[in-house]
C-alpha cells in the first residue's frame, strides 16, 4: 500500500486536567471520504482541529503528505476547513469570500483569480451569485459558499466540521448527495465530523467511531454496521436487539432463540456487562400464517406495531425472553399487517448474529 496522505501517531491532547484525546493513531488515504463519528464530547472535533492546526497536541505527530506538520500553523497546511457556522465573512461579497484565500497567490493575475472563483461557484451551483452580499444569503447558500471558498484553493484535504447540522432534514439529504458528488468530482480527501451515524454511513468510504478521546472502531460503513467490535459501537450505529445469553465452550444459549454454535455466528464483540447476542431488526423475519422456512424459527408474541408506510416495525417478545426485540419488515402489497397480540413465528439465522462477551 502507498503512503497514507495523513498519518496521526500517538496523538494525546490535554486541556488542563481534561484528557481530550487519548492516544489516537490513524491513517487516512488520499482521495477517500473519511468520517469521524461519535457523540458530543468524544474528541472528534478536537481531532479535526488538530489536523487543521487550530489545536496543538500534547504528544504525538501529525504527518500530512509525508511531512511532519505537527507544529505548523493552519495557514501553512494544505488543509482547508468548512466550519460548523460556515464563517462566511459578512462584510464581503460572495465572490470576495470565495476569492479570499487567493489573495496571497502572486502567481495568478486578477483574471485568472476571477476565473477560478467563477468555476468554484459554478461547481457548488451558485453561478451568478458572485456580486451578492454574503450576509444576505440563506443557510444552504452560505454552506455552498464555504465549500467553494475552501475548494478553490485545491487543498489536499477538506475538513468538514458538522457541516449539515444547521440545515433542515430535506436540505441535509440533498447536501449529502451533493457532497458525495463533489468529492468524486474533485478527488480531494474529505474528512467529515458528525454525530449522525446515518450521515456517516451514507457518505463515507471509511468511518472512525470515537468514544472518550479514543477510536473505538475504524471500518468501512458495511463492516461497521454488520460487525461492530463492541456493544457500545453496536448501540451507537443503528438499532440492535440484545438478548441475554450464556456461553459454554463453543455453545451459546440465548434467551428466546435457543442454542447455537459460535463458529456459525457472524462475529463476536466485547461488552462491559453480561454476555449477550445481538441482531439487526432487518435480519430476522416474521412468518405470516402458512408461510414456511428452512431456517431456524423462534416463537413469540407481537406487543407493538409501528406502521411507516413502506415499512412496519414490530416489537416481539420471544418466549423465554423478557424484553421485546424489534423486527423491521418491508410491507408487501395485499398482505395485511399483523395485529398486536398475535402469536407469531420469527425466522432467524445464526449467520446474522453477533456475540457480545
Amino acid at each position: 500500500m502507498t503512503e497514507p496522505l495523513i498519518r496521526l501517531q500517538g496523538i494525546q491532547k490535554y486541556y488542563g486536567d481534561y484528557h481530550a484525546l487519548r492516544g489516537v493513531d490513524l491513517d487516512i488515504r488520499a482521495g477517500e471520504f473519511f468520517s469521524l463519528l461519535g457523540p458530543s464530547g468524544c474528541g472528534k472535533t478536537t481531532l479535526l482541529r488538530v489536523i487543521a492546526g487550530f489545536e496543538g497536541v500534547t504528544e504525538g505527530t501529525v504527518m500530512i503528505g509525508g511531512t511532519d506538520m505537527t507544529r505548523l500553523s493552519p495557514n501553512r497546511r494544505p488543509t482547508n476547513m468548512v466550519f460548523q457556522s460556515y464563517a462566511i465573512f459578512p462584510h464581503l461579497t460572495v465572490a470576495q469570500n470565495v476569492g479570499f484565500g487567493l489573495r496571497k497567490r502572486s502567481d495568478l493575475n486578477r483574471q485568472a483569480k476571477d476565473t477560478l472563483v467563477d468555476d468554484a461557484l459554478d461547481m457548488v451551483g451558485l453561478d451568478g451569485y458572485g456580486k451578492r452580499a454574503a450576509h444576505a444569503l440563506s443557510g444552504g447558500q452560505r454552506q455552498r459558499v464555504a465549500l467553494a471558498r475552501a475548494l478553490v484553493l485545491r487543498p489536499k484535504v477538506l475538513l468538514l466540521d458538522e457541516p449539515l447540522s444547521a440545515l433542515d432534514r430535506k436540505m441535509r439529504e440533498q447536501m449529502q448527495v451533493e457532497l458525495i458528488r463533489l468529492q468524486r468530482q474533485v478527488g480531494i480527501t474529505f474528512i467529515l465530523v458528525t454525530h449522525d451515524q446515518e450521515e456517516a454511513l451514507v457518505m463515507s468510504d471509511r468511518i472512525a467511531v470515537m468514544f472518550e478521546g479514543e477510536i473505538a472502531q475504524l471500518a468501512e460503513a458495511e463492516a461497521l454496521y454488520r460487525r461492530p467490535v463492541s456493544r457500545r459501537v453496536a448501540e451507537f450505529i443503528g438499532v440492535m436487539n440484545f438478548l441475554p445469553a450464556t456461553v459454554d465452550g463453543d455453545v451459546v444459549d440465548a434467551a428466546g432463540l435457543g442454542k447455537m454454535v459460535v463458529q456459525d455466528l457472524q462475529s463476536t464483540a466485547t461488552t462491559a456487562g453480561d454476555p449477550m447476542v445481538g441482531f439487526r431488526p432487518e435480519t430476522a423475519t416474521l412468518l405470516f400464517p402458512g408461510q414456511q422456512t428452512e431456517g431456524r424459527v423462534a416463537e413469540g408474541r407481537v406487543v407493538e406495531v409501528v406502521y411507516y408506510g413502506d415499512m412496519t416495525y414490530y416489537d416481539v417478545t420471544l418466549d423465554g425472553a423478557e424484553k421485546p426485540v424489534r423486527i423491521s419488515m418491508r410491507n408487501v402489497f395485499g398482505r395485511p399487517v399483523l395485529d398486536i397480540g398475535t402469536q407469531a413465528r420469527l425466522a432467524w439465522s445464526p449467520g446474522a448474529i453477533t456475540l457480545f462477551r
Binding site: P74, N75, N80, Y86, A87, L153
Partner: protein, 265 residues
C-alpha cells in the same frame, strides 16, 4: 399612576436642559422669567471670544487623544476578555471597570496627588489626558465587549485557515467586523472627555478645558447667557454624537446578521 410617574421623572431629568436654549435666546442678562425678547447676540459673542476658542481647542485636543488611547486599550482588553481565559482575569477586568462607579472627585484627588507628589509632573493637558483615558477606557471596553461577543471566533480561524497571518486577519476580518463598535466607543469616549469637569478642573494647569473655562465664566453674571448659548451647542453636539454612535453600532450588527447582545444605550 405609573404613566404619571414616568412623565414626572422625565421632566425632572430633562426640563433643566430645555431651559438652556430658552435663556440662550433671551434678550436679557438676567436668568429669570418673564422672557424679554429673542436675540442671537449671545451666540455672536461666542464667535469673538478668543479665550473660549482656546479652551475649546484644548478640549478637542484632550478628547481626541484620550478617546483614541481609550479605544486602543479597550480593543486589547475586550479581545482578551472575550477570547482568552487566564488566571486573574475577572479581578483584572473588575479593576479596569472600577472608575465607572468610582466618584470622580476621588479619582481626581488621588490622581492629583500621584501626578504632583509621586511623579513630580507639572499639570498640563497631558495629565488631563491620562486621567480621561482612565475614565473612558471602561466605557470603551463595555461597548467593544459586545462587539467581540457577537463576532464568531470561526471568522478569524477561517481567515487563518485560508492562508492569512494573525496580523492580516486582524486587518482584513476582525477590524472591519468590530468597526461599528470601535466608532461607537470612539464617539462615546470623545463625548465623555469633552463634557468631563471635575477631573479636568483638578488636573489642568494654565490651559483650561471648555467645561473648566465655563465654570470660570460663571463668576461674571453678565456672561451667563453666553454660557447658556455655549451649553446649548454642546448639548446638541453630544446628542448627535451619541445617536450616531448607537445607530452605527446597530447598523453594523444588522449587517453582520447577528443578535444585539448589549451595547451601552
Amino acid at each position: 399612576m405609573l404613566r404619571v410617574y414616568v412623565i414626572a421623572f422625565l421632566a425632572f431629568l430633562y426640563a433643566p436642559i430645555v431651559l438652556l436654549p430658552l435663556f440662550a435666546f433671551n434678550d436679557s442678562t438676567v436668568i429669570a422669567f418673564p422672557l424679554s425678547g429673542v436675540t442671537t447676540k449671545w451666540f455672536a459673542e461666542l464667535w469673538t471670544n478668543k479665550e473660549l476658542h482656546k479652551a475649546l481647542g484644548n478640549s478637542l485636543f484632550v478628547a481626541g487623544i484620550s478617546s483614541v488611547l481609550a479605544v486602543v486599550l479597550g480593543l486589547a482588553a475586550a479581545r482578551a476578555n472575550v477570547r482568552y481565559r487566564f488566571p486573574g482575569k475577572a479581578a483584572a477586568l473588575g479593576l479596569i471597570m472600577l472608575p465607572l462607579v468610582l466618584p470622580e472627585i476621588i479619582v481626581a484627588t488621588s490622581l492629583l496627588v500621584v501626578a504632583v507628589r509621586f511623579f513630580g509632573w507639572n499639570l498640563s493637558l497631558w495629565t488631563v489626558i491620562a486621567a480621561h483615558v482612565l475614565i473612558c477606557t471602561p466605557f470603551a471596553i463595555a461597548i467593544l465587549n459586545a462587539s467581540f461577543q457577537s463576532l464568531d471566533p470561526s471568522m478569524e480561524e477561517a481567515s487563518i485557515d485560508l492562508g492569512e497571518t494573525r496580523l492580516s486577519t486582524f486587518r482584513l476580518v476582525t477590524l472591519p467586523l468590530v468597526m461599528p463598535g470601535i466608532v461607537a466607543a470612539l464617539l462615546i469616549s470623545f463625548t465623555i472627555s469633552l463634557d468631563e469637569f471635575i477631573i479636568a478642573f483638578f488636573l489642568t494647569g494654565s490651559d483650561p478645558t471648555l467645561p473648566v473655562y465655563i465654570w470660570s465664566l460663571l463668576r461674571f453674571p453678565r456672561l451667563i447667557p453666553v454660557v447658556m448659548a455655549l451649553g446649548t451647542i454642546l448639548v446638541i453636539i453630544s446628542i448627535l454624537m451619541l445617536t450616531f454612535a448607537e445607530w452605527n453600532r446597530r447598523r453594523g450588527l444588522a449587517r453582520a446578521g447577528v443578535k444585539d447582545t448589549g451595547g451601552f444605550l
